[in-house]
């Protein structure tokens, strides 16, 4: 078993341990067990990151199935590998999963044991998605993430959890159907779904119509996950009604599969198709950016504000992809990582707040800064990160995306800056509404953050500020990947 396989399946240790103590009522012990076991993938991911930075190729291959169809050999192997982009998302996954498990203790009030089992199961799927090196395996892991998500939303969610789980499965099911279709076409054409082989195969790229068709299929399939307007209604529901600890992973990591797929399969495999589609993607990005921002401005529930803000921020990823140059793609990758960290921080805070107030309705909250200055402070800092304040990761990604889009489509870029203004408007409106103003004594004696909560929030914040101040820590990691992807565009 290679290092990557070890990493991907390492959460299974925790699952086993939890299964064995299934009957125990000791929540404290369950929590410690889950926490300890989520350190294993974290440490392994750091090890993988170090190996990758050291220039090691971490490829793994086990022959699996080979069969003949009409004089053509179709090969399907078990293949894992990482590049600069996926290694970042792997680290993001293990960090956010750990923090989600750390903070879930106070947010989940029934069957903690099973909750953690599903969370670890979800982690296997997510790590697999980012480590898979062929499309079929990617798809298998992708499907694996859907199952625990479905149950986690349906069982531990808020008031409207069943509807949320239902929408989740419908939209993502349709998305994966389309993805499967696209993968099948690729498989039939290439005879293999290994990423490098597929990219090589299409690099000749004469069949413009075919490329455009594939680009559309992938855009739709990953558009559900990203999500692209108007395929987003499931995601808003999940943001609002799923348990916050889960949304940390959902918004923080799972949504990034959309960006990952678009860049790694879309732009990488079918550069010419994406070149044809670029104006469409740019306009979709603009719609996401503005539509999300204006709707976030109208929401009265904090979690809905954050949901629409995610839609708006995903618009930036689309704009970066549409730019199809080094700045744009790098900006999109930065935005994926940065938004992951920021939304994880936000939903960590939402969870912390919910435990104390049982509500995130903006109208019912006011003046939190008085009794809980730390919580209010972290909310403000998260909002500042979200609105792209320099010195934090969001600024770097916004700047790079706009640098890219202004090179190819300056008019779209100029309209897009309206979204950046609206971002300030809706974030400040929501956060100041909660933290500033006079405190109405509705919740009695609110307790400020406990130590574990401070630690979780601070870790995320340090990552956000770290990338903001030393963006090269990320930029140099993805340098080579970026070059590989851009070869097809000739940029």
């Amino acid at each position: 078993m290679g290092t990557l396989s070890l990493l991907v399946f390492s959460p299974a240790i925790g699952i086993l341990a939890l299964l064995m103590t299934r009957n125990s009522d000791n929540n404290q012990r369950t929590h410690v067990l889950a926490l300890l076991s989520s350190f294993i993938p974290l440490l392994l991911s750091i090890f993988v990151f170090a190996l990758f930075q050291g220039g090691n190729q971490l490829e793994e291959r086990v022959s699996w199935i080979t069969f003949q169809v009409a004089e053509r050999t179709l090969t399907l192997d078990y293949e894992l590998a990482v590049d600069g982009f996926s290694v970042l998302l792997i680290i993001l996954t293990t960090v956010v999963s750990l923090l989600a498990i750390l903070s879930a203790r106070w947010m989940v009030n029934k069957d903690l044991n099973l909750f953690f089992i599903f969370m670890l199961f979800l982690e296997i799927g997510t790590l697999g998605v980012f480590s898979a090196h062929n499309l079929i395996l990617f798809f298998v892991f992708f499907e694996i993430t859907l199952i625990p998500m479905f149950f986690l939303i349906g069982k531990w969610g808020g008031t409207d959890r069943e509807e949320a789980a239902f929408r989740y499965i419908i939209y993502n099911g349709l998305g994966s159907m389309l993805l499967l279709l696209a993968i099948a076409v690729i498989f039939i054409n290439v005879g293999n779904t290994n990423f490098s082989v597929v990219a090589d195969f299409f690099s000749g790229g004469e069949q413009k119509r075919f490329q455009a068709g594939m680009a559309i299929a992938l855009l739709l399939a990953f558009g559900v996950k990203l999500p692209i307007f108007p395929l987003h209604s499931w995601m808003v529901k999940v943001h609002v009604h799923a348990p916050p600890a889960l949304v940390m992973i959902h918004a923080g990591v799972l949504l990034k599969i959309g960006a990952y797929g678009l860049i790694k399969f879309g732009v990488f495999f079918f550069p010419e198709g994406f070149e044809i589609l670029a104006p469409v993607i740019a306009i979709l990005g603009l719609i996401n950016l503005l539509y999300g921002a204006f709707l976030a401005f109208r929401q009265t529930e904090l979690r809905a504000v954050l949901a629409y803000s995610s839609i708006s921020h995903m618009g930036l990823i689309l704009l970066g992809v549409a730019a199809l140059n080094e700045a744009g793609i790098q900006g999109a990758i930065f935005q994926a990582v940065s938004h992951g960290l920021i939304s994880a921080l936000f939903f960590l805070l939402v969870g912390i707040l919910l435990v104390r107030t049982q509500t995130t309705h903006l109208k019912r909250l006011s003046g939190l800064a008085r009794l809980t200055p730390l919580l209010a402070g972290y909310f403000l800092v998260a909002a500042l990160a979200g609105l792209g304040l320099p010195g934090m990761s969001g600024f770097v990604s916004e700047f790079t995306v706009f640098l890219g889009i202004f090179k190819t489509m300056p008019v779209i870029g100029a309209i897009g800056t309206l979204g950046l203004i609206m971002t300030v408007v809706y974030f400040l409106r929501a956060i100041l509404n909660m933290t500033f103003g006079s405190y109405r004594n509705t919740f009695g004696n609110l307790k400020d953050l406990r130590t574990e909560e401070v630690i979780s929030a601070t870790i995320l914040l340090l990552c956000i500020i770290g990338i903001g101040i030393f963006p090269n820590s990320v930029a140099l990691t993805i340098q080579q990947t970026l070059e590989t992807i851009l070869v097809g565009i000739g940029g």
């Binding site: 169809v69 009409a70 053509r72 499907e143 859907l146 479905f150 349906g154 069943e162 789980a165 929408r167 499965i169 099911g173 349709l174 994966s176 159907m177 499967l180 279709l181 099948a184 039939i188 307007f229 108007p230 395929l231 987003h232 209604s233 539509y291 204006f294 709707l295 401005f297 080094e326 700045a327 790098q330 003046g367 800064a369 304040l389 320099p390 010195g391 700047f399 790079t400 706009f402 640098l403 202004f406 090179k407 300056p410 100029a414 800056t417 309206l418 950046l420 203004i421 300030v424 400040l428 100041l432 500033f436 006079s438 405190y439 963006p471 090269n472 930029a475 340098q479 070059e483 851009l486």
Partner: protein
Amino acid sequence: MIEFVWLIPTLPLLTFILLTILRDKVNQTGSYMAICLTGMAFILSVLVFIQLIDAGTAVQEWEWITIGSIQISFGTLLNPLNGLMLILVAFISLLIHIYSLGYMERDQRMTTFFAYLSLFTAAMLGLVISPNLLQFYVFWELVGLGSFLLIGFYYYKNSAKNAAQKAFIMTRVGDMGLLIGLILLFWQTGSLQFEAIFSAITGGDVEGSMLTLIAILIFIGAIGKSGQFPLHTWLPDAMEGPTPVSALIHAATMVAAGVYLVAVMYPLYMASTTALMVVTVVGGFTAIYAASIGLVQNDIKQVLAYSTISQLGFMMLAMGTLGYTAGVFHLFTHAFFKALLFLAAGVVIHAIHTQNIKQMGGLHQRLKLTSITFAIGALAISGFPLFSGFFSKEEILSAVWADGQYGLWLVALVAAFLTSLYMFRLYFLVFHGESKQRLDQIGLVPKTMKIPMSILAVFSIFSGFFNTSWFGSYLGDWLIGDNQMLTNTHHGSSIGVMLIASIISIGGIILAYMIYVKKSFDQTSLQSSFSGTYKLLANKFFMDEFYHTSFVKGAKGVGKIFVYVERYGVGFLLAFIREMLTTLSKSGSKTQTGQTQTYAAVAFLGMVLFTAIYILKGGY
């Protein structure tokens, strides 16, 4: 020493980090620490400045971000303008830190206040030594953050919350201009380094209309930050912050950053006459517009806020008419006397707990030093002969005249007249006449507040002598030096302009004396005979109302439309998909219902398609 210039912003940043972490554990000690570190930053800037006199310029650079083949660096840049700003910002910051010790004495959140103040100082010091436009933008936003935090310092007040929010949003509107401008400039010149940009511009690498567009976009950023018309409405509201903040951020340093930006990018503006014209007109208009509003405000800090906007307009006017030295010179002198005026106003507010000048009067008896220093500040800003403002304002008027903008020259003259009128209206109403409050309860003004005021008073009187046609134009020589790119700027002055400026200034003071002390004219009858004008001015030309009905309501309207799209458009799509799938799953397995089954149905559908393609493409 000069290679340690990066330490200057780092020291206050360190204060911010330490105070934020330690918060409740330090209290008084925390504020002393803040003062010490800011003091060290000031000493360091003086040392750096002394070395800079010989060196001329100094650059340091480190790699910041790699974007494919693009490299963007960060670092430090010292040149005459930056060196001057560095020392100015560090000096005023230090004085305000000391003053705050007395002013915030009884506030429980003093540590937080000093933490924010230090954050602002760090950002502002970082801003003035930026070697490239992106780093400039980074610190530009961070000073905005400092300003936002301090405006909203009294977070429990709704007015403070709204003011903080407004300041952030309105300056962000301007910032987008700057951001677009800098990105366009990057793709035009291939760099964000100031030097590389300027050599590309002077080398004619950028086409004329593009150059104008970029210059105007960047100027929009300056409009937002410096409270120029039409993005000025946040600045009067920003007075919600504690008064030392108004002195440091919203008078002496941050709001001047817009003028500073134009100064930094001056070669760009010199290359486009259209852009210069825009700067001139906006500056000139703002100068008279804000001065006229300042005439009728009754809140002591509001009057000072409008006077700041007006004075910044003067600076812009100078910049637009090639009066580079004049603009920077006025920025320099204004920093002293405006900070002084705010600090004195702070003492008054501290003493009698109101900001309404109609409820003040006769404070001269109890607050002698404050009254004298305020008078010095008022004389300086009015351009009273031999006070600092006299020299800088006179140089602006000369620059406008020399540029041939005679209409704007008249406008500036009227604005100058209004300035001395409203300043002395303020002075007489607050410090003279009958007292409307019990004055015996006013306590002693602490030394920590008196000393900074006295120092600023000295500078308000004498800082004009750094650049006169009598003793030598030290400042102008220092700024222009042998800089090829600035050789065409105007400097110098003429006796004629000087005389007219003096008459105007003294005239305004005399008129204020006649109205508010001698009562030769009845105020109320003046108000009623110009009731329309008065209403317009008192309501600040209804700009806030205009923004409310246009932009705020507009944004809400767009939001509402999207809410409907979301509810009916996107909702319809959902209903459609749901209907389709239920039908499918029912026909697939009639006995089963529920959600898990739907998932199975979808997966099944995928399988079917997969096989179908197999058969179609390959064929079994």
